[in-house]
């Protein structure tokens, strides 16, 4: 099953550590600046530096290595494919020649540099984003986004979506299991089995959507009896501590040093 492990991110962001105690706004600002640098600046040293720092930070607060690895794998695999495509197709100075069964394939330096850049950018930005999400609960992130002037409606819907994702997830999985028990997902290697599995999937989706609709009605009623007037996040309940300037400034200095060293 895909999803359940994905949602584990949230459980980890609840753990208490240096980064989770940090103000979400600090983390968001820092992440945006870092991402900007990683994507905007040329070369690959800074990017790799960010990658290493982010991974080390995650390990330092005891985020399971397996989880980090499994999350990194797909984007890095994609990046590696791109890397090789570039090495072979970005023509320029020749780097090496592969001779596979008479078929000559040339690799090029230009492609190698470019491929490394792309790979390093992917690594750096993915690691940075992972650090952010593994250390910031979504609701804190939401309030940081409001503070950063992201339209409130988007954040409100985001938070509702996130909240009810867990509820619908449980319901949907139960329905899926009930279907399984009555052989709704038979061996899908056979055509007839596959057809049945598709049919069951469409039914499951329909049922989850109907649940969502009905729950929206009940939730709306529950909002009404608490005098709902159109605003869901009227007030940042958690008294924001003063923006932790010292964290922000010191991290920005680290980033600046990285940039200077690597460019």
């Amino acid at each position: 099953m895909v999803g359940e492990a994905y949602l584990a991110v949230d459980a980890i962001a609840q753990k208490d550590n240096v980064f989770t105690r940090m103000d979400a706004r600090v983390k968001v600002i820092l992440s945006i600046v870092t991402l900007g640098a990683v994507i905007g600046l040329p070369g690959s040293r800074l990017q790799l530096g960010v990658f290493v720092l982010a991974i080390l930070s995650m390990l330092a607060v005891k985020i399971p290595f397996r989880l980090i690895f499994s999350r990194l794998l797909p984007p890095l695999a994609l990046g590696t494919v791109v890397f090789w495509v570039m090495v072979f197709f970005q023509e320029g100075r020749q780097m090496f020649i592969l001779d596979i069964a008479g078929l000559k394939l040339a690799g090029y330096w230009e492609g190698f540099y470019l491929g490394t850049t792309v790979l390093a950018r992917i690594a750096g930005s993915v690691a940075m984003l992972m650090l952010l999400s593994f250390t910031t609960p979504i609701h804190e992130l939401g309030y940081a986004l409001i503070w950063l002037r992201v339209p409130r409606v988007i954040v409100e819907i985001l938070l509702l979506t996130y909240r009810y994702l867990f509820v619908l997830w449980d319901e949907g999985m139960r329905i899926r299991q009930a279907q399984t028990l009555r052989l709704g997902y038979p061996a899908w290697r056979k055509i007839s089995g596959w057809k049945q599995a598709i049919r069951s999937t469409a039914t499951l989706m329909g049922m989850v959507f109907i649940r969502a609709y009905d729950r929206a009605e009940s939730t709306f009623s529950a909002m009404q009896v608490r005098a709902y007037n159109g605003n869901i996040t009227g007030y940042d309940f958690k008294n924001w501590s003063k923006l932790q300037t010292k964290y922000l400034v010191s991290s920005l200095i680290v980033l600046f040093v990285l940039v200077v060293v690597s460019v």
Binding site: H139, R215, R226, A227, I232, F237
Partner: protein, 283 residues
């Protein structure tokens, strides 16, 4: 009377007549239970008296004034409604934010909001869960959090739809004790629905029995449970100890003065029966 419904009718879009001339009156400060089988109309009645559904005919009065004259804010400062499924009610990401939702909508200043949130969570016994995301709560904790969300609006009456459904005996007892505390200490009128008849004699000052959208019986638990036949017709039953008392009275000619409703009353009944038998022989 803090709440009154007079000859209320309600029909759903598909033609189901869920309420057919329902009459209730809830005196201030009491603990009132609405007893009814599945589909008898309990939830519909609650939605009508909280203004979520507009009755087809009939009138609702809150604290003596027709409900139509209230503004939303005024109304929901007076009445709180706790839904059966706490997941419907807890839509904010964390407990604290959810409890703050009502007070914020009442346009209270943030210090007052924070104070109310804290007080409400303490009343229901979960102040430590303030910053917990909802999806990490157990069912019983969710139930408490949803009650806190309503308490934070400082209502005069709280309406609860099957507050013990889905809870184990210990969890159900805790919620009922919480409601009794709110009723006795905070003087909040409680009006709750259930189909668990064993709860009624332990907690209710008054009972209404709803059946097919109409009030079949009303009165004290003793009055209501004396109408055994009508209860059974309404798909309900006697509390188990009352059933025992009834059998002993009818089939074994044991003399009892009134139907025992709680374990304490049943105990007294047995003791006095034994004593009487002793006295009969002593004479």
């Amino acid at each position: 009377m803090i709440l009154e419904a007079q000859q209320v009718h309600y029909t759903y879009h598909d033609g189901t007549n869920a309420l057919q001339g329902t009459d209730i009156a809830i005196p201030k400060g009491q603990f009132v239970i609405l007893l009814g089988s599945n589909g008898s109309g309990k939830t519909t009645l609650f939605k009508v008296i909280t203004g979520l559904l507009k009755p087809g005919r009939g009138e609702i009065r809150v604290d003596g004034r027709p409900i139509k004259e209230y503004s939303k804010e005024e109304l929901y400062r007076k009445i709180g409604f706790v839904f059966q499924d706490p997941n419907d009610q807890l839509f904010a990401p964390t407990v604290g934010e959810d409890v703050a939702f009502g007070p914020v909508n009442l346009k209270l200043d943030s210090a007052e909001v924070a104070r109310r949130v804290k007080a409400a969570l303490e009343m229901v016994g979960i102040p430590h869960l303030l910053n917990k995301p909802i999806h990490y709560l157990s069912y019983g904790q969710k139930k408490r959090a949803s009650i806190a969300g309503v308490l934070a609006m400082k209502p005069e009456v709280i309406i609860l739809d099957e507050p013990t459904a889905g809870l184990d005996p210990a969890g159900a007892r805790e919620i009922m004790r919480l409601l009794v505390k709110l009723n006795k200490e905070e003087r909040i009128t409680i009006f709750m629905a259930t189909h668990d008849v064993d709860l009624v004699p332990l907690y209710a000052d008054r009972v209404f029995v709803l059946f097919k959208g109409g009030i079949l019986l009303a009165g004290t638990p003793q009055e209501v449970f004396n109408q055994k036949e009508r209860l059974r017709n309404a798909q309900l039953r006697l509390p188990r100890v009352a059933h025992l008392g009834e059998i002993l009275f009818k089939k074994d000619n044991l003399l009892i003065d009134k139907l025992p409703l709680t374990i304490g009353e049943a105990r007294r009944m047995v003791i006095s029966a034994v004593k009487r038998e002793g006295e009969r022989h002593a004479r």
